[in-house]
């Protein structure tokens, strides 16, 4: 069906919600393709339809019309259970609120998707989860519970959970929405590193701060794509270095030297 080797092929997708008597056209015929290895940011103000598009791409919702192929599979024709399996095998979700299970350790959170893998592709769930956590730099904190981790670390666990099934795409919905500026850059650096390793990543965001690290930006307004550009992304690693250097300089200038040891931790 798909002549190209695109991971995602969205063709004339519309989505109409009926709210009482009036209809809301959240998407009005969107066409989009995503190639393997892209780092794409879907942008738009609230109400632009970007969350709707993300839900359809993420296999959480069906389009009203049009077609959506993921890895050559026509997702819009699948049953609810098949959709659940697609989410499990081919999509890794990263949410704004981290959405980790409370009172459940990092490694247990990470191996959660493997529980629902009906093909049982990973024989050793623990090992797969541990590798995934090591990949996001949390190899030392596998047994920590979410309430013992910082926001950035929690988001890393969520990313590890998204990666554990080796998905075709990682779908991140406002992944830095709850994070401070330095942690935001750290998480974006992780996304860039993963992308360099070949992971296809789609970020859904309304922040330019996040979008500037993407290789491609798709902007929506009123259910239509109004902009689709490729760009040379900023390096999050460089930004992080600059940020830390600036912070250190500012601290050196404003604080007496004896308190430095306190902040150093």
């Amino acid at each position: 069906m798909s002549e190209s080797n695109a991971v995602i092929q969205v063709r004339q997708v519309t989505k109409t919600y009926t709210m009482g008597s009036n209809k809301v056209h959240a998407l009005q015929g969107v066409d989009m393709e995503v190639q393997p290895g892209e780092l794409l940011a879907i942008m738009g103000a609230s109400g632009s339809g970007k969350s709707t598009l993300m839900n359809i791409i993420g296999g959480l919702d069906y389009p009203t019309s049009g077609s959506y192929h993921l890895d050559g599979i026509e997702v819009n024709k699948l049953s609810k259970n098949e959709l659940a399996d697609i989410r499990n095998h081919k999509i890794g979700f990263v949410f704004q609120g981290f959405n980790l299970l409370a009172r459940t350790s990092a490694i247990e959170n990470t191996e959660l998707p493997l529980l629902y893998d009906r093909q049982n592709r990973h024989k050793n769930h623990r090992e797969a989860a541990r590798k995934s956590l090591e990949r996001v730099g949390l190899g030392e904190r596998v047994d920590h519970h979410p309430n013992e981790l910082s926001g950035g670390q929690q988001q890393r666990v969520a990313i590890a959970r998204a990666l554990v099934t080796n998905p075709s795409i990682v779908l991140a919905d406002e992944p830095t929405g709850n994070l401070d500026s330095q942690t935001t850059v750290e998480v974006m650096q992780l996304f860039q590193e993963l992308n360099d390793e070949g992971v296809t990543i789609i970020l859904v965001t309304h922040e330019d701060e996040v979008a500037r690290y993407a290789k491609r930006i798709v902007e929506l307004r009123d259910g239509n794509i109004i902009k689709d550009i490729t760009q040379e992304p900023d390096s999050a690693a460089d930004d992080l270095k600059a940020l830390i250097a600036r912070k250190a300089a500012a601290e050196a200038a404003t604080t007496p030297s004896e308190t430095e040891t306190v902040d150093a931790g």
């Binding site: 399996d85 959405n99 459940t104």
Partner: protein, 405 residues
């Protein structure tokens, strides 16, 4: 393997919410505990009543001379109007069902001794009599076979006579006069109480048949022959067999009617058993209501829990859980909780009935059948009351569930 993992997930969730789990299980614990205690009391009462019937002798047959031939025209030559020692001997020798046989002859007379005198009935019986009637002695001993054979002048007093003649001491070893015949008291019977129609069973004294026949009464034909079987189940066959032996013993031709009667206590015992069964069922029904309430408690908490964990359900669905997986998880949670509650309830029930048994002196009996039923029933409660909340969870839309605060 997947089912096992889902059970593990449910188990973890149960352990992580100890307070909620305990509150959920409380209803089942109390319900199952109540059922077990109630049934134990009911069964205890039943076995007590059965014991009382045993007292009367459920496996006892009573042979009496027939009334039909008393003035009947069919009273042919050579037919017997009464029972003879030979009848008892024939049953003793030929019956395979009879465990014990005892002739009974009565004589009503005055007993003098101790504090004064007392009018009572003396039964002439054999050594089998206390076994047939399941009647123990409270002191002394029963007469033995040689005393029976030689017609020794020994007497066993019923509790009522013993109380009236010897209110302040044990009558064993005392001598009393019966029709001016001195007799040695060698034993006292345990009190048996009244019969259903109000006769005092303890107002009686026992002596060997021969003693009564030879020393106390010159007109003493056998009034009854008591036979007991090894088991109450044998009664119908035993009745047929003894009837045949009796007919042969009395030389009855095929066309002649029985000149004796054989009665058993089976019907009485059936009626009593029916009553206690109804009582047990009633108690169990009352207790089942509390189990039902416990089940509703589970449903209540599971429903709250589904709402509380909407976000968790959303996460699980987003990462690939099917509706069926969520349903299974919640169903397993409620089943595990109700079975766990059932197990604790069984422990409570066993402890409770043991405590009742020892403090109140009630006979209680917990049987495995009740325990198995309690476990099965609590699992069924878990499935039944867990299904609706689990289905509610499974039907959640992942997008809405994820957005749920």
């Amino acid at each position: 393997m997947r089912a096992f993992r889902l059970i593990k997930v449910a188990g973890k969730s149960i352990i992580k919410n100890k307070m909620r789990t305990l509150l959920t299980m409380l209803g089942i614990i109390i319900g199952v505990g109540a059922v077990i205690i109630m049934v134990a009391i009911g069964e205890g009462a039943q076995s007590q009543i059965e014991e009382q019937i045993q007292n009367l002798g459920t496996n006892m047959l009573v042979i009496t001379p027939g009334a039909a031939n008393a003035g009947g025209v069919s009273q042919g030559s050579g037919s017997f109007n009464r029972l003879r020692g030979e009848d008892a001997d024939k049953i003793r020798n030929e019956s395979i069902y009879a465990a014990g046989v005892s002739e009974v002859i009565f004589t009503r007379t005055q007993i003098v001794g101790g504090a004064g005198n007392w009018r009572s009935t003396i039964h002439g019986v054999t050594t089998d009599y206390p076994i047939i009637r399941d009647w123990d002695l409270s002191s002394g001993r029963f007469f033995d076979a040689s005393e029976e054979r030689t017609g020794k002048k020994v007497l066993i007093l019923g509790a009522t006579i013993a109380e009236n003649l010897f209110p302040d001491r044990d009558p064993v070893g005392e001598r009393v006069l019966v029709r001016n015949v001195p007799m040695d008291v060698i034993g006292v019977l345990e009190p048996k109480g009244q019969t259903a129609d109000g006769n005092d069973q303890d107002d009686v004294a026992l002596a060997p048949v021969l003693t009564v026949q030879r020393r106390l009464s010159n007109w003493s034909f056998i009034r009854q022959i008591l036979v007991n079987t090894y088991s109450p189940d044998d009664i119908p066959e035993a009745q047929e067999e003894i009837k045949a032996i009796m007919r042969e013993s009395h030389g009855l031709a095929a066309w002649e009617p029985d000149d004796f009667e054989i009665r058993n206590q089976e019907q009485l015992s059936e009626a009593a058993q029916g009553t206690t069964e109804v009582m047990t069922a009633l108690l169990a029904a009352i207790a089942s209501i509390s189990l039902l309430v416990g089940g509703i408690g589970i449903m209540n908490i599971m429903l709250v829990s589904v709402t509380e964990r909407t976000r968790e359900i959303g996460i699980r669905m987003a990462i690939g859980a099917r509706g069926g997986d969520v349903l299974t998880q919640f169903l397993i949670e409620s089943i595990v909780m109700s079975i766990l509650g059932g197990a604790l309830g069984i422990a409570l029930g066993m402890g409770g009935s043991a405590l009742l048994g020892s403090t109140m002196g009630w006979a209680t009996a917990v049987n495995t059948q009740t325990v198995v039923i309690a476990i099965v029933f609590s699992a069924a409660v878990g499935i039944f009351f867990g299904f609706y909340p689990a289905r509610k969870a499974a039907k959640l839309n992942p997008i809405d569930a994820l957005r749920f605060e």
